[in-house]
């Protein structure tokens, strides 16, 4: 017994860009980048020196006084949030059966993503490592108030 499969007489055509493909590709490009960014972030902040015990305002100030860590954390912020939001969107698409629920959840996810990217970007670039009027013992050793 043989099964006859209809031969499609024309290829599938699209009028719009294939966003699902770009999303799929983004996960595979951002993933390895995030491994480098986040694994280094974990080693620098949780393994080296005194690890978690050393983290305070002065520690963050010491890092963000250097443009290298500003760019590093900025890349981590954007890539991780977009990667995470797109992953959550995939899960929502799998489990949210109703179109209305799916749209509401997906819209919420991207709104939160955009808001946190905006907040984080502003924080990184408007951050003052030596804020005026702050008590000296909370500031990094390179601040003039010290």
């Amino acid at each position: 017994m043989s099964v006859t499969i209809e031969v499609p007489n024309r290829p599938r055509t699209r009028k719009q860009a294939n966003w699902e493909k770009y999303g799929w590709l983004f996960m595979r490009v951002s993933g390895p980048l995030l491994i480098v960014l986040i694994f280094t972030h974990l080693v620098v902040n949780l393994v080296l020196g005194d690890g978690i015990k050393a983290i305070d305002f002065a520690f963050v100030a010491g890092k963000w006084a250097d443009p290298f860590w500003q760019v590093w954390d900025l890349a981590m912020l954007w890539l991780a949030l977009i990667h995470g939001t797109n992953g959550m969107r995939t899960i929502v698409n799998d489990y949210a059966g109703q179109v209305k629920v799916r749209r509401a959840l997906t819209t919420t996810l991207w709104a939160v993503c955009a808001l946190l990217i905006l907040l984080g970007t502003l924080v990184i670039f408007t951050f003052d490592p030596c804020p005026a009027g702050a008590s000296a013992e909370l500031l990094a050793s390179f601040c003039p108030a010290q």
């Binding site: 390895p32 949780l46 978690i52 991780a80």
Partner: protein
């Protein structure tokens, strides 16, 4: 004699469980990321505000949870590399099971190495 039918539970083995773990770890990391961006944003409020909140990361309960977070990040990242290998490497599907166990082994070894160091800091003075 009637033959008792076998259970119909789907047995996807390593492929299924790696997928389940990837989802659960991904969702967990996502929600931590939301909190982490917000707590870090407190550096823009004041040194005091940031220090008060970051102190909670050094408490025993959160300190223990951080081991789970580190483990989830390691697993998710390494298993992501495995997924990429399955997608792009011609022998990826052949070795997917072996790669899963490598991912688990590296994750367990790394967390085992990190745990005593981290807990000494969390529970030490």
């Amino acid at each position: 004699m009637a033959i008792k039918p076998a259970g119909t539970l789907y047995r996807g083995k390593v492929g299924m469980w790696s997928w389940v773990l990837h989802r659960i770890s991904g969702v967990g990391i996502f929600f931590f990321l939301l909190v982490h961006v917000l707590d870090t944003a407190l550096v823009r409020v004041s040194p005091e505000a940031y220090n008060i909140v970051i102190e909670s990361y050094k408490t025993p309960v959160v300190g223990l949870a951080e081991l789970g977070l580190v483990g989830a990040i390691l697993f998710h990242g390494l298993n992501g590399l495995r997924v990429i290998a399955i997608d792009f490497w011609s022998k990826g599907t052949k070795y997917q099971s072996a790669m899963f166990w490598v991912v688990i082994a590296v994750t367990v070894i790394a967390v085992a190495g990190f745990t005593p160091m981290h807990l000494a800091r969390v529970f030490g003075h």
